[in-house]
Protein backbone atom coordinates (compact mmCIF):
# COMPACT_ATOMS: atom_id res chain seq x y z
CA UNK A 1 0.00 0.00 0.00
CA UNK A 2 2.84 2.32 0.93
CA UNK A 3 4.59 1.58 -2.39
CA UNK A 4 1.34 2.11 -4.26
CA UNK A 5 1.06 5.62 -2.82
CA UNK A 6 4.66 6.40 -3.82
CA UNK A 7 4.10 5.12 -7.36
CA UNK A 8 0.87 7.13 -7.62
CA UNK A 9 2.67 10.25 -6.42
CA UNK A 10 5.52 9.77 -8.94
CA UNK A 11 3.00 9.18 -11.75
CA UNK A 12 1.10 12.33 -10.76
CA UNK A 13 4.32 14.41 -10.84
CA UNK A 14 5.28 12.91 -14.23
CA UNK A 15 1.87 13.74 -15.73
CA UNK A 16 1.93 17.30 -14.40
CA UNK A 17 5.52 17.83 -15.61
CA UNK A 18 4.94 16.45 -19.10
CA UNK A 19 1.72 18.49 -19.43
CA UNK A 20 3.63 21.59 -18.40
CA UNK A 21 6.35 21.01 -21.00
CA UNK A 22 3.77 20.45 -23.74
CA UNK A 23 1.65 23.44 -22.80
CA UNK A 24 4.61 25.79 -22.44
CA UNK A 25 6.04 24.71 -25.82
CA UNK A 26 9.47 25.15 -27.38
CA UNK A 27 9.21 28.77 -28.51
CA UNK A 28 12.08 30.70 -27.02
CA UNK A 29 14.67 27.93 -27.28
CA UNK A 30 16.15 29.78 -30.28
CA UNK A 31 16.20 33.00 -28.26
CA UNK A 32 17.99 31.22 -25.43
CA UNK A 33 20.50 29.77 -27.89
CA UNK A 34 21.18 33.22 -29.38
CA UNK A 35 21.53 34.69 -25.91
CA UNK A 36 23.97 32.07 -24.70
CA UNK A 37 25.93 31.07 -27.79
CA UNK A 38 25.63 33.48 -30.71
CA UNK A 39 28.95 34.40 -32.29
CA UNK A 40 28.88 37.46 -34.53
CA UNK A 41 29.78 36.47 -38.10
CA UNK A 42 30.86 39.92 -39.35
CA UNK A 43 34.28 41.29 -38.40
CA UNK A 44 32.94 44.31 -36.53
CA UNK A 45 34.86 47.32 -35.30
CA UNK A 46 33.46 50.17 -33.23
CA UNK A 47 31.78 52.63 -35.62
CA UNK A 48 33.56 55.76 -34.36
CA UNK A 49 36.90 57.31 -33.51
CA UNK A 50 37.56 58.77 -30.03
CA UNK A 51 36.27 57.32 -26.79
CA UNK A 52 32.50 56.81 -26.40
CA UNK A 53 30.40 55.84 -23.39
CA UNK A 54 27.91 52.95 -23.39
CA UNK A 55 24.56 54.25 -22.09
CA UNK A 56 22.56 51.10 -22.85
CA UNK A 57 24.17 47.82 -23.80
CA UNK A 58 24.51 44.34 -22.41
CA UNK A 59 22.54 41.21 -21.79
CA UNK A 60 20.52 41.93 -18.66
CA UNK A 61 17.39 44.02 -18.08
CA UNK A 62 19.51 46.60 -16.27
CA UNK A 63 22.31 46.83 -18.83
CA UNK A 64 20.21 46.61 -21.98
CA UNK A 65 17.40 48.75 -20.49
CA UNK A 66 14.50 49.35 -22.91
CA UNK A 67 16.24 47.55 -25.78
CA UNK A 68 16.31 44.27 -23.90
CA UNK A 69 12.50 44.08 -23.93
CA UNK A 70 12.21 44.85 -27.66
CA UNK A 71 12.63 41.49 -29.33
CA UNK A 72 10.11 42.26 -32.07
CA UNK A 73 11.96 45.33 -33.28
CA UNK A 74 15.25 43.48 -33.44
CA UNK A 75 16.58 45.78 -30.75
CA UNK A 76 17.17 43.26 -27.99
CA UNK A 77 20.96 43.64 -27.99
CA UNK A 78 21.11 47.18 -29.39
CA UNK A 79 23.68 49.58 -27.95
CA UNK A 80 23.37 53.31 -27.30
CA UNK A 81 26.63 55.26 -27.35
CA UNK A 82 27.45 58.88 -26.56
CA UNK A 83 30.50 60.86 -25.48
CA UNK A 84 31.10 61.95 -21.90
CA UNK A 85 33.75 64.08 -20.27
CA UNK A 86 34.76 64.38 -16.65
CA UNK A 87 33.26 67.66 -15.48
CA UNK A 88 33.99 69.43 -12.20
CA UNK A 89 30.69 70.46 -10.61
CA UNK A 90 30.30 73.64 -8.49
CA UNK A 91 30.57 71.56 -5.30
CA UNK A 92 33.95 70.23 -6.44
CA UNK A 93 32.83 66.71 -7.30
CA UNK A 94 33.74 65.22 -10.66
CA UNK A 95 30.97 63.75 -12.78
CA UNK A 96 30.82 62.33 -16.28
CA UNK A 97 28.61 64.62 -18.34
CA UNK A 98 27.59 64.34 -21.97
CA UNK A 99 27.31 68.09 -22.60
CA UNK A 100 28.66 71.43 -21.50
CA UNK A 101 26.70 74.66 -21.21
CA UNK A 102 23.02 74.69 -22.10
CA UNK A 103 21.88 71.03 -22.29
CA UNK A 104 18.95 71.96 -24.55
CA UNK A 105 21.23 72.70 -27.49
CA UNK A 106 22.26 69.67 -29.56
CA UNK A 107 25.58 71.38 -30.39
CA UNK A 108 26.50 71.43 -26.69
CA UNK A 109 26.43 67.63 -26.55
CA UNK A 110 29.91 66.21 -27.05
CA UNK A 111 28.91 63.53 -29.57
CA UNK A 112 26.68 65.70 -31.78
CA UNK A 113 28.19 65.93 -35.26
CA UNK A 114 30.98 63.44 -34.58
CA UNK A 115 31.84 61.22 -37.58
CA UNK A 116 30.43 57.69 -37.68
CA UNK A 117 31.97 54.84 -39.65
CA UNK A 118 30.77 51.56 -41.07
CA UNK A 119 31.43 48.84 -38.48
CA UNK A 120 31.91 46.11 -41.12
CA UNK A 121 32.15 45.53 -44.86
CA UNK A 122 28.89 45.39 -46.75
CA UNK A 123 26.34 47.06 -48.96
CA UNK A 124 24.10 49.98 -48.02
CA UNK A 125 20.52 48.83 -48.47
CA UNK A 126 18.56 51.68 -46.91
CA UNK A 127 19.23 55.33 -46.10
CA UNK A 128 17.05 58.04 -44.57
CA UNK A 129 18.71 61.45 -44.37
CA UNK A 130 15.99 64.13 -44.24
CA UNK A 131 14.55 63.98 -40.74
CA UNK A 132 14.98 67.05 -38.56
CA UNK A 133 17.05 66.72 -35.42
CA UNK A 134 14.96 66.98 -32.26
CA UNK A 135 15.28 69.62 -29.64
CA UNK A 136 16.92 67.93 -26.66
CA UNK A 137 14.28 66.46 -24.38
CA UNK A 138 11.74 65.83 -27.13
CA UNK A 139 11.34 62.83 -29.43
CA UNK A 140 9.89 62.12 -32.86
CA UNK A 141 8.12 58.80 -32.40
CA UNK A 142 6.48 58.94 -35.83
CA UNK A 143 9.88 58.29 -37.41
CA UNK A 144 11.59 56.28 -34.67
CA UNK A 145 14.86 55.63 -36.51
CA UNK A 146 15.22 59.24 -37.58
CA UNK A 147 18.06 59.43 -40.08
CA UNK A 148 19.50 55.96 -40.35
CA UNK A 149 21.62 53.61 -42.46
CA UNK A 150 21.17 49.87 -42.90
CA UNK A 151 24.22 47.93 -44.06
CA UNK A 152 23.82 44.36 -45.27
CA UNK A 153 27.01 42.47 -44.45
CA UNK A 154 25.95 39.81 -46.99
CA UNK A 155 26.47 37.02 -44.47
CA UNK A 156 23.08 36.88 -42.74
CA UNK A 157 23.70 39.98 -40.62
CA UNK A 158 22.84 43.65 -41.03
CA UNK A 159 24.01 46.67 -39.05
CA UNK A 160 21.68 49.57 -38.32
CA UNK A 161 22.99 52.96 -37.24
CA UNK A 162 20.20 55.34 -36.20
CA UNK A 163 19.41 58.88 -34.99
CA UNK A 164 22.04 60.48 -37.26
CA UNK A 165 22.24 64.22 -37.95
CA UNK A 166 19.96 65.50 -40.69
CA UNK A 167 21.69 65.68 -44.08
CA UNK A 168 24.95 64.28 -42.73
CA UNK A 169 24.84 60.84 -44.39
CA UNK A 170 27.33 60.67 -47.27
CA UNK A 171 26.58 57.19 -48.65
CA UNK A 172 23.62 56.11 -50.77
CA UNK A 173 21.50 53.01 -51.17
CA UNK A 174 23.40 50.45 -53.24
CA UNK A 175 26.88 51.69 -52.26
CA UNK A 176 29.47 49.14 -51.23
CA UNK A 177 31.20 50.19 -48.01
CA UNK A 178 34.30 48.95 -46.25
CA UNK A 179 35.00 48.74 -42.55
CA UNK A 180 36.01 52.13 -41.14
CA UNK A 181 34.61 54.17 -44.02
CA UNK A 182 32.83 57.33 -42.90
CA UNK A 183 29.04 57.16 -43.26
CA UNK A 184 27.67 60.28 -41.59
CA UNK A 185 27.52 62.18 -38.34
CA UNK A 186 25.94 61.54 -34.97
CA UNK A 187 22.69 63.40 -34.39
CA UNK A 188 19.45 63.51 -32.46
CA UNK A 189 16.71 62.47 -34.89
CA UNK A 190 13.82 60.03 -34.47
CA UNK A 191 12.90 58.59 -31.09
CA UNK A 192 15.94 60.14 -29.46
CA UNK A 193 15.77 62.73 -26.71
CA UNK A 194 19.47 63.62 -26.74
CA UNK A 195 22.30 63.17 -29.23
CA UNK A 196 23.56 59.60 -29.29
CA UNK A 197 24.25 56.70 -31.65
CA UNK A 198 21.91 53.71 -31.66
CA UNK A 199 23.60 50.61 -33.09
CA UNK A 200 22.00 47.22 -33.60
CA UNK A 201 22.93 44.01 -35.34
CA UNK A 202 20.10 42.03 -36.86
CA UNK A 203 19.64 38.68 -38.60
CA UNK A 204 18.49 38.68 -42.23
CA UNK A 205 17.71 35.11 -43.13
CA UNK A 206 16.10 31.93 -41.89
CA UNK A 207 14.98 31.79 -38.28
CA UNK A 208 17.18 34.75 -37.37
CA UNK A 209 15.47 37.11 -39.80
CA UNK A 210 14.46 40.28 -37.97
CA UNK A 211 15.88 39.16 -34.64
CA UNK A 212 18.37 41.29 -32.74
CA UNK A 213 21.75 39.62 -32.34
CA UNK A 214 24.57 40.16 -29.86
CA UNK A 215 27.25 42.31 -31.52
CA UNK A 216 30.79 41.28 -30.72
CA UNK A 217 33.35 43.91 -31.72
CA UNK A 218 37.00 43.10 -32.36
CA UNK A 219 40.12 44.71 -31.00
CA UNK A 220 39.01 47.62 -28.85
CA UNK A 221 39.50 49.10 -25.41
CA UNK A 222 36.95 48.71 -22.64
CA UNK A 223 37.80 51.10 -19.81
CA UNK A 224 41.41 51.19 -21.04
CA UNK A 225 41.70 47.40 -21.13
CA UNK A 226 42.29 45.86 -24.55
CA UNK A 227 39.64 43.38 -25.65
CA UNK A 228 40.13 41.04 -28.61
CA UNK A 229 36.44 40.27 -28.99
CA UNK A 230 33.68 41.57 -26.77
CA UNK A 231 30.26 43.06 -26.28
CA UNK A 232 30.16 46.60 -24.85
CA UNK A 233 28.22 46.83 -21.61
CA UNK A 234 26.45 49.74 -19.96
CA UNK A 235 28.79 52.09 -18.11
CA UNK A 236 31.93 51.22 -20.08
CA UNK A 237 34.05 53.70 -22.00
CA UNK A 238 35.13 52.15 -25.29
CA UNK A 239 37.42 53.12 -28.14
CA UNK A 240 39.05 51.44 -31.11
CA UNK A 241 42.55 50.10 -30.74
Amino acid sequence: MKHLKTVAYILFILVITSCTDTLMGDEGKLDEDIYLNYQTVTDLELPFEDEWFVVNGGKTHFEGAHHFTSRGGGERYAIDFLIVQDTILPDGTVRKKNYSGDWRQNENHFCFGKPLNTPGDGKVIEVVNTIDDNQVGTTNNDQPGGNYIIIDHLNGETSILAHLKKGSIIVSQGDTVVKGQELGRAGNSGSSDRPHLHYQLEGTSGQLRGLGLPAQFLNYYEDDIIVERGEPVRGQEVRKN
Binding site: I16, M24, E27, G28, E32, Y35, T60, R71
Partner: protein, 235 residues
Protein backbone atom coordinates in the same frame (compact mmCIF):
# COMPACT_ATOMS: atom_id res chain seq x y z
CA UNK B 1 -10.91 48.08 26.91
CA UNK B 2 -11.98 49.45 23.54
CA UNK B 3 -10.84 46.22 21.92
CA UNK B 4 -12.95 44.15 24.35
CA UNK B 5 -16.05 46.28 23.70
CA UNK B 6 -15.55 46.05 19.96
CA UNK B 7 -15.09 42.27 20.23
CA UNK B 8 -18.33 41.95 22.25
CA UNK B 9 -20.25 44.05 19.71
CA UNK B 10 -18.84 41.84 16.94
CA UNK B 11 -19.80 38.62 18.75
CA UNK B 12 -23.30 39.95 19.52
CA UNK B 13 -23.84 40.92 15.91
CA UNK B 14 -22.64 37.51 14.77
CA UNK B 15 -24.93 35.67 17.19
CA UNK B 16 -27.78 37.92 16.14
CA UNK B 17 -27.19 36.95 12.54
CA UNK B 18 -27.05 33.27 13.55
CA UNK B 19 -30.34 33.64 15.37
CA UNK B 20 -32.15 34.64 12.18
CA UNK B 21 -34.54 32.21 10.57
CA UNK B 22 -32.58 29.26 9.23
CA UNK B 23 -35.00 28.54 6.45
CA UNK B 24 -34.07 31.66 4.45
CA UNK B 25 -31.27 30.79 1.99
CA UNK B 26 -28.38 33.23 2.12
CA UNK B 27 -28.09 35.38 -0.99
CA UNK B 28 -24.62 36.86 -0.50
CA UNK B 29 -21.29 35.45 0.43
CA UNK B 30 -17.92 36.92 1.07
CA UNK B 31 -14.88 34.73 0.98
CA UNK B 32 -11.24 35.15 1.80
CA UNK B 33 -8.74 32.51 0.72
CA UNK B 34 -5.03 32.19 0.65
CA UNK B 35 -2.87 29.56 -0.88
CA UNK B 36 0.09 28.65 -2.99
CA UNK B 37 0.66 29.38 -6.65
CA UNK B 38 3.02 27.50 -8.90
CA UNK B 39 3.42 29.00 -12.36
CA UNK B 40 5.40 29.19 -15.57
CA UNK B 41 5.78 32.17 -17.87
CA UNK B 42 7.08 32.57 -21.39
CA UNK B 43 7.12 36.19 -22.54
CA UNK B 44 9.65 36.55 -25.34
CA UNK B 45 9.12 40.29 -25.48
CA UNK B 46 10.29 40.54 -21.89
CA UNK B 47 13.33 38.26 -22.11
CA UNK B 48 14.92 35.54 -24.28
CA UNK B 49 13.80 32.82 -21.89
CA UNK B 50 11.67 29.89 -23.00
CA UNK B 51 10.26 29.38 -19.52
CA UNK B 52 10.43 31.29 -16.27
CA UNK B 53 9.26 29.47 -13.14
CA UNK B 54 7.57 31.21 -10.27
CA UNK B 55 5.86 30.29 -7.05
CA UNK B 56 4.56 32.02 -3.98
CA UNK B 57 1.68 32.83 -1.68
CA UNK B 58 -1.44 34.27 -3.21
CA UNK B 59 -4.47 35.98 -1.71
CA UNK B 60 -8.03 35.83 -2.95
CA UNK B 61 -11.14 37.80 -2.08
CA UNK B 62 -14.47 36.74 -3.55
CA UNK B 63 -18.00 38.09 -3.40
CA UNK B 64 -21.01 36.11 -4.66
CA UNK B 65 -24.58 37.24 -4.96
CA UNK B 66 -27.57 35.20 -6.04
CA UNK B 67 -30.38 37.38 -7.35
CA UNK B 68 -34.10 36.79 -6.96
CA UNK B 69 -34.16 35.23 -10.42
CA UNK B 70 -31.38 32.83 -9.40
CA UNK B 71 -28.71 34.58 -11.37
CA UNK B 72 -25.27 34.18 -9.86
CA UNK B 73 -23.05 37.23 -9.83
CA UNK B 74 -19.40 36.62 -8.86
CA UNK B 75 -16.54 39.03 -8.30
CA UNK B 76 -13.11 37.63 -7.49
CA UNK B 77 -9.87 39.47 -6.84
CA UNK B 78 -6.52 37.66 -6.77
CA UNK B 79 -3.14 39.00 -5.80
CA UNK B 80 0.27 37.38 -6.16
CA UNK B 81 3.71 38.86 -5.61
CA UNK B 82 6.71 36.73 -6.47
CA UNK B 83 9.92 36.48 -8.52
CA UNK B 84 10.62 35.00 -11.94
CA UNK B 85 13.30 32.33 -11.81
CA UNK B 86 15.64 31.22 -14.56
CA UNK B 87 19.29 30.28 -14.82
CA UNK B 88 19.62 31.70 -18.35
CA UNK B 89 20.15 35.36 -17.48
CA UNK B 90 22.75 36.17 -14.82
CA UNK B 91 20.82 38.86 -12.97
CA UNK B 92 18.73 39.04 -9.79
CA UNK B 93 15.33 37.42 -10.26
CA UNK B 94 12.87 39.94 -11.73
CA UNK B 95 10.05 40.88 -9.39
CA UNK B 96 6.70 39.76 -10.77
CA UNK B 97 3.29 40.52 -9.41
CA UNK B 98 -0.22 39.90 -10.69
CA UNK B 99 -3.58 41.36 -9.87
CA UNK B 100 -6.50 39.51 -11.42
CA UNK B 101 -10.13 40.62 -11.29
CA UNK B 102 -12.80 38.19 -12.48
CA UNK B 103 -16.40 39.28 -12.84
CA UNK B 104 -19.03 36.84 -14.01
CA UNK B 105 -22.76 36.71 -14.38
CA UNK B 106 -24.26 33.24 -14.67
CA UNK B 107 -27.82 32.20 -15.38
CA UNK B 108 -29.26 29.05 -13.89
CA UNK B 109 -29.95 26.44 -16.57
CA UNK B 110 -30.64 23.35 -14.50
CA UNK B 111 -31.47 22.74 -10.85
CA UNK B 112 -32.76 19.33 -9.94
CA UNK B 113 -32.15 17.25 -6.88
CA UNK B 114 -28.56 17.93 -5.93
CA UNK B 115 -27.12 19.23 -9.19
CA UNK B 116 -27.12 22.84 -10.33
CA UNK B 117 -25.76 24.13 -13.66
CA UNK B 118 -25.20 27.80 -14.47
CA UNK B 119 -23.93 29.39 -17.65
CA UNK B 120 -22.97 32.94 -18.56
CA UNK B 121 -20.23 35.43 -19.32
CA UNK B 122 -17.03 36.28 -17.54
CA UNK B 123 -14.56 39.13 -17.90
CA UNK B 124 -11.05 38.89 -16.58
CA UNK B 125 -8.76 41.85 -16.02
CA UNK B 126 -5.21 40.73 -15.60
CA UNK B 127 -2.49 43.20 -14.68
CA UNK B 128 1.09 41.96 -14.37
CA UNK B 129 4.02 44.00 -13.19
CA UNK B 130 7.69 43.36 -13.83
CA UNK B 131 10.35 45.10 -11.75
CA UNK B 132 7.87 46.97 -9.53
CA UNK B 133 5.83 48.42 -12.40
CA UNK B 134 8.80 49.49 -14.52
CA UNK B 135 7.24 47.17 -17.10
CA UNK B 136 3.64 46.06 -17.19
CA UNK B 137 1.24 43.83 -19.07
CA UNK B 138 -2.49 44.62 -19.01
CA UNK B 139 -4.88 42.04 -20.44
CA UNK B 140 -8.64 42.37 -20.66
CA UNK B 141 -10.44 39.13 -21.53
CA UNK B 142 -14.04 38.23 -22.23
CA UNK B 143 -15.41 34.74 -22.48
CA UNK B 144 -18.04 32.21 -21.56
CA UNK B 145 -18.25 30.49 -18.20
CA UNK B 146 -20.15 27.56 -16.74
CA UNK B 147 -20.51 26.39 -13.16
CA UNK B 148 -21.60 22.94 -11.99
CA UNK B 149 -22.48 22.52 -8.32
CA UNK B 150 -23.18 19.20 -6.68
CA UNK B 151 -24.57 19.08 -3.16
CA UNK B 152 -23.08 15.95 -1.56
CA UNK B 153 -25.12 16.27 1.63
CA UNK B 154 -26.42 19.02 3.91
CA UNK B 155 -22.95 20.14 4.81
CA UNK B 156 -20.74 19.35 1.84
CA UNK B 157 -20.72 20.49 -1.77
CA UNK B 158 -18.48 20.23 -4.80
CA UNK B 159 -18.35 22.88 -7.45
CA UNK B 160 -16.46 23.32 -10.68
CA UNK B 161 -16.29 26.39 -12.91
CA UNK B 162 -14.89 26.43 -16.42
CA UNK B 163 -14.16 29.69 -18.22
CA UNK B 164 -13.06 29.94 -21.82
CA UNK B 165 -12.02 33.48 -22.77
CA UNK B 166 -12.71 34.18 -26.44
CA UNK B 167 -11.19 37.62 -26.99
CA UNK B 168 -8.41 39.58 -25.37
CA UNK B 169 -7.21 43.16 -25.57
CA UNK B 170 -3.62 43.58 -24.49
CA UNK B 171 -1.75 46.78 -23.79
CA UNK B 172 1.69 46.58 -22.29
CA UNK B 173 5.28 47.76 -22.31
CA UNK B 174 5.74 45.28 -25.14
CA UNK B 175 2.77 45.74 -27.46
CA UNK B 176 -0.83 46.82 -27.85
CA UNK B 177 -3.16 44.50 -29.73
CA UNK B 178 -6.53 42.82 -29.88
CA UNK B 179 -6.64 39.03 -30.15
CA UNK B 180 -9.44 36.57 -30.78
CA UNK B 181 -9.66 32.79 -30.66
CA UNK B 182 -7.43 32.21 -33.73
CA UNK B 183 -4.26 33.47 -32.08
CA UNK B 184 -5.41 33.44 -28.50
CA UNK B 185 -6.22 30.38 -26.45
CA UNK B 186 -7.02 30.37 -22.79
CA UNK B 187 -8.75 28.30 -20.17
CA UNK B 188 -9.49 28.85 -16.51
CA UNK B 189 -10.78 25.93 -14.49
CA UNK B 190 -11.56 26.06 -10.82
CA UNK B 191 -12.86 23.26 -8.68
CA UNK B 192 -13.79 23.68 -5.05
CA UNK B 193 -14.96 21.73 -2.07
CA UNK B 194 -17.06 23.43 0.60
CA UNK B 195 -17.97 22.32 4.08
CA UNK B 196 -20.63 24.20 6.01
CA UNK B 197 -19.64 24.94 9.58
CA UNK B 198 -22.86 26.75 10.28
CA UNK B 199 -25.64 28.52 8.42
CA UNK B 200 -23.31 31.47 7.93
CA UNK B 201 -19.85 30.03 7.69
CA UNK B 202 -18.24 27.61 5.24
CA UNK B 203 -14.69 26.49 4.87
CA UNK B 204 -13.42 25.83 1.41
CA UNK B 205 -10.54 24.27 -0.46
CA UNK B 206 -10.07 24.96 -4.13
CA UNK B 207 -7.74 24.26 -7.01
CA UNK B 208 -7.37 26.53 -10.04
CA UNK B 209 -5.72 25.89 -13.35
CA UNK B 210 -5.11 28.83 -15.67
CA UNK B 211 -3.52 28.70 -19.10
CA UNK B 212 -2.98 31.54 -21.57
CA UNK B 213 -1.36 31.28 -24.96
CA UNK B 214 -0.73 33.85 -27.67
CA UNK B 215 0.49 32.42 -30.95
CA UNK B 216 2.53 35.39 -32.14
CA UNK B 217 6.22 35.71 -33.00
CA UNK B 218 6.90 37.25 -29.58
CA UNK B 219 5.30 34.22 -28.00
CA UNK B 220 3.44 34.55 -24.73
CA UNK B 221 2.37 31.59 -22.64
CA UNK B 222 1.48 31.34 -18.99
CA UNK B 223 0.46 28.32 -16.98
CA UNK B 224 -0.60 28.51 -13.38
CA UNK B 225 -1.66 26.02 -10.71
CA UNK B 226 -3.17 27.40 -7.55
CA UNK B 227 -4.32 25.72 -4.36
CA UNK B 228 -6.30 27.74 -1.82
CA UNK B 229 -7.89 27.35 1.59
CA UNK B 230 -10.53 29.84 2.56
CA UNK B 231 -13.38 30.86 4.78
CA UNK B 232 -16.73 31.88 3.43
CA UNK B 233 -19.22 34.11 5.23
CA UNK B 234 -22.82 34.00 4.01
CA UNK B 235 -25.29 36.77 4.70
Amino acid sequence: MTKIILSLIFLLSISNVFAQADSIPKKNSLEFSTGYTNGYLKNLSFAPVARYDYSGLNYQLKYNRTTKRDKLFEVQLDYLNTELETNIIPEPNPQYSKIVLNISSLKQLYNKERLKIQLGLQTQTNVSSFYDWKQYDFQQKLGIAGRFTFQIDDKQSLSSKLTIPLVMWRTSTFEENFYSIGKYKSILWTTEYKYALSKNLDVEANYSFNYDRLQISNAFRELQHQINLGINYKF
